[in-house]
Symmetry: C2
Subunit: 616 residues, 2 copies
Amino acid sequence: MSEKNTDLYKLNLPSDLKKLSLKQCDKLCGDIRRLLITTVSKNGGHLASNLGTVELTMALHRVFDSPADKIVWDVGHQAYTHKILTGRLKDFNTLRQEGGISGFCRPDESEHDAFISGHSSTSISVALGIASAMKLNGDSHHAIAVMGDGAFTGGMIYEGLNNAGKSDTNIIVILNYNEMSISKNVGGMAKYLSTMRTKESYKKTKTVVQRMLDVTPLVGKPIKNAVRESKNAFKGAILHSTMFEELGFEYIGPLNGHNLEELEAGLKAAKAINKPVFVHVNTVKGKGYAPAEENPGEYHGVGSFEISTGNPDVVLADSFSSVMGKELCRLGRKNKKLCAVTAAMKYGTGLQYFAKSFPERFFDVGIAEEHAVTFCGGLASMGYTPVFAVYSTFLQRSYDQLIHDLAISRIHAVLCVDRAGVVGSDGETHQGLFDIAFLTSVPSAVIFSPSNYEELKLCLHRAAETEKGIAAVRYPRGADKSVYSKADANTDYIHKKNGGKILIVTYGRLYNNVYSAIEILKNHDIICDTLKLVKVFPIENKIIQIINKYDSVFFFEESYKYGSISEKYSAVCKNINSYTIDKFVTHGECDDLLDELGFSSEKIARTVGENIKNET
Amino acid sequence: MSEKNTDLYKLNLPSDLKKLSLKQCDKLCGDIRRLLITTVSKNGGHLASNLGTVELTMALHRVFDSPADKIVWDVGHQAYTHKILTGRLKDFNTLRQEGGISGFCRPDESEHDAFISGHSSTSISVALGIASAMKLNGDSHHAIAVMGDGAFTGGMIYEGLNNAGKSDTNIIVILNYNEMSISKNVGGMAKYLSTMRTKESYKKTKTVVQRMLDVTPLVGKPIKNAVRESKNAFKGAILHSTMFEELGFEYIGPLNGHNLEELEAGLKAAKAINKPVFVHVNTVKGKGYAPAEENPGEYHGVGSFEISTGNPDVVLADSFSSVMGKELCRLGRKNKKLCAVTAAMKYGTGLQYFAKSFPERFFDVGIAEEHAVTFCGGLASMGYTPVFAVYSTFLQRSYDQLIHDLAISRIHAVLCVDRAGVVGSDGETHQGLFDIAFLTSVPSAVIFSPSNYEELKLCLHRAAETEKGIAAVRYPRGADKSVYSKADANTDYIHKKNGGKILIVTYGRLYNNVYSAIEILKNHDIICDTLKLVKVFPIENKIIQIINKYDSVFFFEESYKYGSISEKYSAVCKNINSYTIDKFVTHGECDDLLDELGFSSEKIARTVGENIKNET
């Protein structure tokens, strides 16, 4: 194609990519980088990881035929270039905005998104399912799982590798190694991969070693004997010296992930081998944007920022996460048995303060939520008090471990459940809608849902120092925006009597909206009392008694309907109107989403007002 | 100690073991084997795995000091010898019986049981928690995780290895390799381990290779150069040639797991190294009892059997599992898109029929429930209908995958949830109490709970052929004991009107007890109608309408209280008395446990009778 045809907006994507020269594609990669930086600087999103995968994505779409070949992006936060190259270029400016395109992969957005993504470490399992189906269909296309080294700490990756390696399918596993997951990567695997990264090209090494084996017969007798003696073991050790070969894969790599020619050669080789292939690609996170290359951690997920200076709109203000983190630090100073655990979310959960003050009592286990909970069990069995700070949506991974490894033995462990409720622009895969439902089904778990910083601190103390068993403290993403007085903050409940016969019950951040709704209703001469729960579970008789005193009770709850707290109170109280969430919630601004769900102060006031009118 | 002091019953265990000679210990191992065979032949239990670990357990207790050193048994079904050697010899005849000792490890049973066990692949996480606590305490004792190769297919093992390998702790990971997990072991890791098993002693090989490296300077120039060129890679390949060394462990093995001397030497070496150690032990499952050695699969978990013939009391009669398996086979004949998936429970779930008829559409993924569900998602995305047959308690592992990888995309997948409800002698860790709670919190999941074989077949058809999204069919362990007519079997509900003003609602196996309770109540002139739910979730208006017609409704449900179906109906109906399960349930005979929980026909009749009396 001629030079003028390398205008992204004029190409028929992805098919035209195959008609271009490498040079033309390099030019396109530059254009895409600029588009990524511009868009993310405005909309926020994942930057560093996307800058790292531009060439890899280009090479994938030139070597393979999506959607007949299926590309499965692990987590999906590195698939922006894939979106740009598969029909979503014109909408790319709506990235992560309500009604716009998602920051993750969604099959309902494009046939090129082979599967939903959002949570880590699922890609090999998905791709193996697809590859197995292809095999049953007699279809010779490929299923390609692409993941970063962060995802590589999750147990599902290993379960997937274990099954994929021995499968007789066209699965290709691509490890995009950039020495940098969300926080600094941890564990033996990271160290191993890092060694491989710094090696001379493995392929080359292997050839050298093979040559050496070939010539050994020339050397003296003792060595000849030694070689013969251990021939198989020796060969095995040298020729199958990557872990991935040991699990049954052909290994290709490491490839320079920013060299299109090398990438395409490697991927073509992978395509030609009719068995499971593991492709190891080295990339630089943040490639092509100096501030992001220098600080890939800061540019993992960002808000908007100024391109020329690279200054992200850093939120210097406190958030529920940072307040938790600082308070835990204070607690840790007094209580030498307190330990903090994170699954690769040190900064996200605010644990950096604790980590810095008490490095020996801080444990970053990688993206391994199952291990994290059971590891907490081990610590607790020795008299320590583990605090696992984790996003609500990721704690879903630990459900069995909470029951089996903590609850049965009534082990005391604190869960700091961050990002509980609606999280906003990360969308469906990341909303914290289910923690109430699954934690209430873990016998003897206690759940606190503070609605402001004061209560968060009090709840944290109580959870760590007073409670037994599993004590969960859940709180939303972002900052405390409460407008009411916090003088009466406590860890139990607050019952505000205004002389009304109507009661509005809620907990967590929604209390702020209820507080404002009460004012709106008052202006319409509707007087409501409020009951804010702080300890939301188990349900309690004193709460039932309060509820039963009212003619009409409205319970607003930012949680999934089935398994909700209002459902539990409704089962024993006969006067509750429940308003919960009964569907997955897509991406958008938090306040907009809460309004749509009927949880803005205006909507709460309207719901109560209309219902009262209907009754009278 | 003198020969007469090798009477198990006269020794002070475990401390006296260290005073004995190897020969005396070998004699004890024989005694223990006989005791294992005798006890399991009477009480049922896990035989083959326990016969395989007699010497290993003996060696552990001679080399280490339990409970100061902590031994964590993965799954725990191989810890019978450990129980015998740590104060539970006299009670060993009560194994798995109600009020007797558990078939798994329980810290409340003995201080030598470092942590609860039952579910697979948790031991490294637990042991690392303990080892980290020891390190914080400045305690130089060891935390020792012992697992079979079956557990080695679970992702938690890898998450644990990844963290343990780089930890600066005294953790020892012991792999008891017997080439035989519950079903035949699967996957790349199994193949890899199998290769290592058949190797000459790895230690020896390593020495040979090391010697060879040492002498290379003597050889000619080309080789010298080749060696220099690739020195690091080469060394790395040879000296760190086990996967476990690559993850940061010192590797010892493979050791002969039935040679006490070799085992003790290996464990002493492991104890002397002050860093993470991986010990590879080869054992023979069923060792010392010919029928079990020949058929370790059949002797994994057994009922009682006759020792002389080795004939297990094979249950030839049908069970819910076998009926499901056979019907799925029929379905698979018609529907070529139907696939069956198991997580190492081919026989337990009745999938052997399908596996035999349609091997290409049958997938045993190993003990990897997370992968299993997401793999189903991949299959379904290509137009296949995956059926994952799994025990209720193990499906807890897949909660996040059900939400994230299936529900968000409204993927059609069938879950055959076996062992739902009380399972009996396996106890607390294995009861299927939570599937209703967690499945109802997965948006758009549909749940069927057939109470007999006819309904099971109908539900399976409907789930596979008519339903969209996640369709779960849950059924209890064991056989259909129903005494009522099944002529009206369907997949919806059965409302039996006897002219009563009292309604008893239930579902699943409990209907049989309710049916009998109705007769008892009739004899006391209490006439009750019954409502048996088959499709139990989502809750439906037509069911609400039926319930609302009655003055008094009793809902009996073999499920955990919070998240139960009766809770959901209670939240919208105002006349329900719920009877659910509000605690963990220990081991015992199913019927006894159901009676204790208030679910025998007598107890149901009494509950209704007394309640009615109180009301009048």
